[in-house]
């Protein structure tokens, strides 16, 4: 097993970005037939969207189109990743994300092994490093990882040859959630650029919000955020290029094309960030009256699991404008696209 120092693992390209890299729209006429994909050479992992250019995000979304069609077939199985081994290593409970990755891997023909912290030697006090070294000795190609500590997949990526996919790290990032949100917006609205997207809730501690902020910015959306001051990074007020900070729910939702509600974690209350959930609901919740302020047909999104009646009223959550179930379905297609792209990168013999 190759053991690398922290500094040595970063590819030359990653370490020394040229100013021209990324962020520009590339012609989609498909002229680059002989190129090894739009995904930058040397990029092996998906840790967050801040490292991804618009072209790279678009490559994932275009592949997701094809993957979505595969999911609509009677035979939902292709041999694309046959012989590849994917491990999902979850140190936090998440049925939704883990199953989504598992299904994505299986539809592509990979072997998927699920490891949860409670069933592994982690519960016996094994260090994260030793856990992943043990897993790597099983010749894995892709490691899908969720961990309660921010940055854990970055640490692992420096010590493993397999491609690492961040399936949520602490309060830092959740890039596949953001990609599936982008895909859902695009498939409903046709494009992302120029669309007004309101993100409401716990911006400070939300890995979903953080990854979406990067992704939406890169794709040219016009983002507005709103939430309690205790859960809002103060510097966002000085970063209008990333997002506008609204002063009220009404202002945030006004003329929005997309309203993305975040799950409020109950522990924010015990940590003193919030008064009652009742007050949260009245000030920061989405209901039918507020949704009327958005553009007609605006999308209502939520990464789940929802606290219905708190951040979102049940009628809105299950109303005509809600695309929350689409998000879940699209999640499988997007994760197929991510697995396919990364596994193709890491493939040596084929």
């Amino acid at each position: 097993m190759a053991r690398r120092s922290t500094s040595a693992v970063v590819s030359t390209q990653e370490r020394k970005p040229t100013p021209s890299k990324g962020r520009q729209v590339v012609s989609t006429s498909g002229v680059a037939a002989a190129r090894p994909g739009l995904w930058s050479e040397g990029k092996r992992h998906l840790l967050d969207l801040d490292e991804m250019s618009r072209t790279e995000i678009e490559e994932i979304l275009r592949n997701a189109d094809g993957m979505k069609e595969v999911l609509s077939r009677n035979v939902r199985k292709t041999p694309a990743l046959r012989g590849k081994t994917i491990i999902t290593l979850f140190f936090e409970n998440s049925t939704r994300t883990r199953v989504s990755f598992e299904q994505a891997g299986k539809v592509l023909g990979a072997d998927v092994i699920n490891v949860t912290a409670s069933s592994s030697s982690v519960s016996k006090g094994e260090s994260l490093l030793n856990t992943i070294r043990t897993l790597e000795s099983m010749q894995i190609d892709v490691l899908v990882m969720r961990h309660p500590h921010s940055g854990a997949p970055y640490f692992v990526a420096n010590h493993i040859d397999a491609a690492v996919i961040n399936a949520g790290d602490g309060t830092h990032a959740h890039p596949t959630q953001a990609l599936l949100d982008l895909f859902t917006i695009e498939s409903h609205l046709g494009s992302i650029a120029g669309k007004k997207v309101a993100i409401v809730g716990d911006i400070l501690y939300s890995r979903v919000a953080r990854s979406n902020l990067w992704g939406l910015k890169t794709m040219g959306a016009d983002v507005t955020v709103f939430g309690p001051p205790t859960l809002m990074p103060p510097e966002l007020r000085d970063q209008p290029d990333i997002a506008k900070v609204a002063g009220s729910m009404e202002e945030a939702v006004d003329q929005a094309d997309v309203v993305m509600m975040l799950r409020i974690q109950k522990e924010r209350q015990s940590a003193g960030h919030l008064p009652s959930m009742r007050e949260y609901s009245t000030r920061f919740g989405l209901n039918a009256k507020r949704l009327k302020l958005a553009r007609p047909g605006a999308l209502v999104m939520h990464p789940g699991p929802m606290n219905e009646g708190i951040e979102i009223s049940p009628d809105v959550a299950h109303g005509a404008q809600a695309v929350i179930e689409d998000q879940v379905a699209n999640g499988v297609a997007v994760r197929m696209a991510v697995l396919y792209t990364l596994a193709a990168r890491s493939s040596v013999g084929r």
Partner: protein
């Protein structure tokens, strides 16, 4: 190696001894382990009965003093031992180090203090001065037997690693220690403001999703401590100041004539929270795979450039009295983990001087002031006749080449703690020779050719 009976002549160097306002080319003569003379002008020829150390182009100063070192011995010898820690000190130019009491068992009673002193004298490399715990077991509940500790030879009291959170206990500690003439060296950190905190609060922490550690967690306790020092008349020393707001509180305390001193570490004087991004301080706006560099995790955390600027200004004007390393060695596995799991601390005895010398190289602090903060100032704090080249004082001397370029390679460091954010970094200036009690304890030429 010099023969003690012969005497040593250090020739060709620029001698800086802030305790005597000396900054000139001179010959330094040592005899029988004590200072004989710093000559008014360089001698054309050293006296015959002296071994000559030729240090042309280099600087000769009193041996550096570190009032804040973690030696981990007894109890955590896998992290550091008195032997490896004092060797690291010698390589870093330190001839006196003060050992923090968070050992296992902790230095809260005379037995442990005596064991540390005995072991240090057996190793015999540099002077080790123990610091006693403020509270029993460093639990912050009951005062340790401070008079017994004082009698055993501690130079002050600290629960470092943890603050004295209870204000009443802090009041009693300052009051009780004032009767012993010794300082309370507090680690200022308001626990309720740092629950789960991992790094400096601010945009970098928010981008990394790491819980922030506000400046005010430090400055609010410094302000409290200052008031309690005023109330009790005790000697207060604030450890490892990192925040601009804390400096303001200390500056006001000094204006009030209170018996308050403060220290700053090399890392807080030179590094910022952007180092957590793992690109040696560069911020490209992207979190790359080298981010969450656990070698940057330290308590208090690396702050912003604004705080660094305030610290440097305070070091220059004396608000920060002295430079202390807070050398905090850990085992490799303590840093081979997620940022949240990683232990706090940087192993820096061997890089400390080169770090702070960068302040001189960029004209932020003059060389004599820098040397004063590492020699005369800590000697004053200790109330000891060290950190000077006065005739008759013990011959503790540090010689450094201010222009020597070198690269930090943790595998070459003597300390067992190999974790430093400076790994792989180019440094300018390095200690080449360390003399303790007239004996050469470190000579870089014996290891690697200079230049």
């Amino acid at each position: 190696m010099a023969d003690n009976s012969k005497g040593i002549a250090i020739v060709g160097g620029r001698v800086i001894d802030p305790s005597q306002d000396i900054d000139r080319l001179a010959t330094v003569l040592i005899k029988d382990g004590v200072m004989e003379e710093v000559t008014a002008k360089p001698l054309a020829k050293a006296p015959d009965s002296y071994d000559v150390i030729d240090v042309a182009g280099q600087v000769v100063t009193p041996g550096f003093i570190d009032v804040h070192t973690h030696l981990r011995d007894p109890g955590e010898e896998h992290k550091e031992t008195i032997e490896t820690g004092t060797m690291a000190a010698a390589r870093g130019g330190f001839t006196t180090i003060c050992a923090m009491p968070n050992t296992v068992p902790c230095q809260d009673n005379a037995n442990v203090i005596e064991a540390v002193l005995k072991r240090a004298s057996e190793v015999g490399l540099v002077r080790v001065l123990p610091i006693g715990a403020i509270t029993v077991g460093r639990h912050g509940e009951q005062l340790a037997d401070m008079a017994e500790l004082a009698a055993a030879g501690v130079i002050g009291f600290s629960d470092d690693g943890d603050p004295v959170a209870d204000p009443n206990l802090m009041r009693q500690a300052l009051s009780y220690a004032s009767g012993l003439g010794l300082p309370i060296m507090n680690h200022p950190q308001e626990p309720a403001l740092t629950r789960g905190a991992q790094m400096n609060e601010g945009p970098i922490a928010n981008r990394l999703g790491l819980t922030g550690w506000p400046n005010e967690a430090e400055s609010s306790m410094v302000a409290r401590d200052v008031e309690l020092a005023a109330l009790t008349g005790g000697r207060l020393h604030e450890c490892h100041i990192s925040a601009r707001q804390s400096i303001d509180a200390i500056r006001r305390a000094k204006e009030r004539g209170l018996n308050v001193t403060a220290e700053a570490t090399p890392h807080h004087l030179t590094l910022t929270d952007t180092w957590v991004l793992g690109e040696h301080g560069d911020d490209n706006g992207v979190v790359r795979s080298g981010a969450y560099d656990t070698s940057t995790k330290v308590n208090p955390p690396l702050r912003t450039q604004d705080d660094v600027d305030a610290l440097i200004e305070a070091l220059a004007d004396g608000t920060i009295d002295l430079i202390a390393t807070d050398h905090a060695p850990h085992a490799i596995t303590d840093k081979l983990c997620t940022y949240q799991e990683a232990a706090n601390g940087i192993a820096n005895l061997e890089t400390a001087f080169a770090s702070v010398l960068s302040l001189h190289h960029r004209d932020a602090v003059s060389l004599p002031v820098l040397i004063e903060r590492m020699t005369a100032a800590p000697a004053r704090f200790l109330g000891m006749d060290i950190g000077t080249m006065k005739k008759g004082s013990t011959a503790d001397i540090t010689i450094f080449n201010p222009d020597l370029d070198w690269t930090v390679d943790p595998s070459e460091m003597a300390t067992l703690g190999k974790h430093t954010p400076l790994a792989g970094t180019q440094m300018k200036g390095r200690v080449t020779t360390t003399i303790f009690g007239g004996k050469v304890i470190w000579d870089i030429a014996a290891v690697a050719p200079i230049g």
